[in-house]
């Protein structure tokens, strides 16, 4: 099943903001086994020069997942989400996320293509503060594996 190519270039405005909490940073850091004091201890984060706890680099996936979920489940796009695997992921940081940030994500469909029976879609999430200051850009390539006999 081919994806609708007309979706390339579509931009999805942020659907509400995300307030980064200290406990969420601690919970996420613990889940990836990251014991860096800057993500757990406010005094340690301040010693490094940050205003508050520093999120591990991949933290923004929480926001990106929420934002891109709306996009990839759009029935008009035609993506079979049960067959989706994560192909590639990239983060470009302007600065790290810290506790207390209030962030929004604008999602753009950058590319859609079909290769060897697999549908591929590249989405970009621009994570900024409420006032538009860039924080991180997260880019994901999702692959919907075609039926076994199509590859």
């Amino acid at each position: 099943m081919a994806l609708n190519p007309e979706f390339v270039g579509r931009v999805y405005a942020a659907d509400g903001s995300y307030v980064v909490g200290r406990e969420k940073i601690r919970e996420f850091a613990t889940a990836i086994g990251d014991i860096n004091p800057a993500s757990h201890d406010v005094a340690a984060a301040r010693e490094l020069g940050y205003a508050d706890l520093v999120a591990p680099p991949t933290f923004s996936v929480i926001l990106a997942l929420k934002a891109s979920g709306v996009v990839v489940r759009d029935p008009d796009l035609g993506l079979d989400y049960t067959r989706v695997v994560h192909g590639e992921q990239r983060f470009s940081f302007t600065r790290p996320i810290v506790a207390g940030d209030e962030l929004v994500v604008t999602t753009t469909i950058e590319a859609i293509r079909t290769m060897a029976g697999n549908d591929m879609i590249t989405t970009r999430g621009d994570v900024t503060t409420l006032s538009g200051e860039p924080v991180v850009v997260t880019t994901a390539l999702l692959v919907a594996r075609g039926p076994e006999d199509a590859a």
Binding site: A31, L48, T58, F91
Partner: protein, 142 residues
């Protein structure tokens, strides 16, 4: 803001301390909760095998996060990372037992910028197979 590794002390080929991670089913449940990624292939063996996977597989983003720790543990400051990208080439298969899967991560400096940054290339394997491709980070050093 303050990496503890000095740019001047690093050259192309410098190896970062490698790390070995254990991934248990319980780690996948914990990561699902923390990240909000509740895709069933990361915790339900019946559905994972139904869609053609050998077993439950780890979230690619958990693998990426663990591999990234080799870089952030080295520089000390999680905010020193400027770029980090990977390709998920093979899943990390996590059996339902007490030893789980093993992820071995090594990394070395593959390029030096003249702006105080370095590029690090990461190698991540599980059961002898490479699970991340084109895994590279750019970091600002002290």
């Amino acid at each position: 803001m303050s990496a503890r590794v000095a740019w001047a002390d690093v050259e192309v080929g410098t190896e970062l301390p490698s790390q070995t991670f254990t991934v248990l089913r319980s780690d996948l449940v914990r990561y699902a909760g923390a990240s909000g990624d509740f895709n069933v292939i990361h915790w339900n063996e019946r559905i994972a095998t139904e869609v053609g996977l050998p077993n439950v597989i780890a979230h690619g983003m958990l693998t990426m996060a663990m591999a990234g720790r080799v870089v952030t543990d080295w520089v000390g400051d999680p905010g020193a990372l400027l770029e980090y990208g990977v390709r998920f080439t093979r899943p990390v298969v996590v059996p339902d037992d007490d030893s789980g899967a093993t992820l071995e991560v090594s990394a070395k400096v593959s390029a030096k910028g003249d702006d105080g940054t370095v590029q690090v290339t990461i190698t991540a394997t599980s059961e002898g197979a490479t699970v991340l491709g084109k895994a590279q980070a750019r970091v600002r050093l002290a």
